[in-house]
Symmetry: C2
Subunit: 290 residues, 2 copies
């Protein structure tokens, strides 16, 4: 995988941006055509894509579009939601994740981001739910590996533990990932989810080659209702991005740095302007060496 | 302090409720007169009070009211907000906390709950902020001890780390508390803040005599804007209360069990009805031996 990353780093015409990737949900107002054209024009070599818009566009067609623009897909968001107890529901989730792996392979990305899923209704057993995540990883990892796709377990902020993701810390994500070969299962380091945790420095050192993706968003308050769409533009909040970038680099990660901000205030603006702001903030708060 | 707790446990006429305390913010619609009358009538022997309503009522007068109703004050909420860098602001915070300690002593409670404070505006240094909390504890602990008041450091859910409390886990709270004599600084175990953390079982065992208060609220979603007033009635959400009660008991805690639910839906109802529901849910999900 580092080969791909070095490839991206040699892209000409984008000094300081060779590792930057724009996750498409940051500019939800943009179509895939606008996204690829916009990133190419701005010298941003990577895009992080989401399954729904890619499927609407057509997976093969999206893959061609990104390639034709001279870009690469740095990650596909997202598979996961593995915590159902009902066997039929579990089988459906696994099928859907195999489809997500196929889509990632078609898009040419080696990284499928996984959000584990929350507690089933009425269930209070976090430990059991995390074990079902491990079971699902065991079923999917070989299938993904055959397609050169790595499963990237994303710990989400503890405020999502009940309804979205029972994996809340980098330590928990690593506890899961380390049950599998390093090339098959990694972890996502997203500053928005992990910034508050005083153990995250040690866990980043522990993570080493397990780091499959590095995503940036800032923490701003007050949180909106439902707490999903309140991420901040880089530099607007509490996250010390340089601290994270240094530790992720010290762990050996040389891959893409993906900006993923869900915020209706950004979606209401001109996409080109938002991307320009992302680029300038990225350079300001945490530009990482190519 | 265990002497006090045993005293409460022998209160007659309230089988199974001898350790139950109602935090007044659970029934914000009630005046202090209504609160004390309501708890006495329901056989709930303890009340957790907040500084603002107590000061409006008069601290001495509130202390007499609670005593006359045959109740005890299990905790005073709250002191803290120690993270300012500005010396004048820090001095004001310390003065205010000395006043809170005096109020706790007047009310006859041995427990002052402390919420540490968030990051100062524009500050991203969580480690530094936590050190300023430790410095404040060092200044206040002897003053509190002279008045038989114990400082109870409350870890708040990580979603409050930026704007309210840089102490996010029980481990962090214990790291702070353990710098001081056990009788001077303890920790608050609140299920709402800690339920998601897979290290909390080990930390409860570590806590032992440091547990100064045990508070209950359930975790329900979706979270409301600002995430302050979305706590759930016991049994309505994801918290395994019995799991907590057993581990808190195993750690040696025999003190009050305080129900503290901030939720406008409860405030809109008849207080007597809310208290009856709290009592019945408490007995259902986690009644602890007297």
């Amino acid at each position: 995988m580092t080969g791909d990353h070095r490839g991206a780093a040699t892209r000409p015409g984008s000094p300081g941006l060779s590792r930057l990737s724009l996750n498409q949900e940051t500019v939800r107002q943009w179509s895939l055509d606008e996204l690829t054209a916009g990133c190419a024009a701005a010298g941003v070599p990577g895009v992080g894509l989401w399954r729904d818009p890619v499927r609407s566009y057509g997976v093969d067609r999206a893959a061609s579009l990104v390639r034709a623009a001279g870009l690469r897909v740095t990650s596909l968001c997202r598979g996961g939601f593995f915590t159902a107890v009902d066997p039929a529901e579990r089988a459906r989730a696994l099928d859907d994740n195999r489809a997500a792996i196929d889509e990632a392979a078609t898009l040419g990305t080696d990284t499928l981001v996984l959000v584990s899923g929350g507690l089933p209704a009425g269930d209070r057993d976090l430990v059991g739910a995390r074990e079902r995540v491990a079971d699902a990883l065991a079923e999917l990892a070989p299938y993904a590996a055959e397609r050169a796709v790595r499963l990237a377990v994303e710990p989400l902020h503890p405020m999502y533990a009940a309804d979205r993701c029972v994996v809340s810390t980098l330590a928990q994500a690593l506890d899961l990932a380390e049950r599998f070969p390093v090339e098959q299962v990694g972890v996502v380091v997203d500053t928005y989810h992990l910034w508050w945790d005083d153990t995250v420095g040690d866990q980043l050192a522990r993570a080493g080659d397990r780091i499959a993706a590095f995503q940036l968003a800032d923490w701003v308050t007050p949180l909106p209702e439902g707490v999903l769409l309140g991420r901040g533009q880089l530099g607007d909040g509490s996250v010390d991005f340089r601290w994270f970038a240094e530790r992720v680099a010290a762990a050996g990660y040389r891959g893409p740095v993906e900006v993923e901000i869900f915020n209706p205030a950004l979606w209401a603006r001109d996409g080109t302007e938002v991307l320009a702001e992302v680029v300038s903030r990225y350079q300001e708060v945490c530009a990482v060496p190519g």
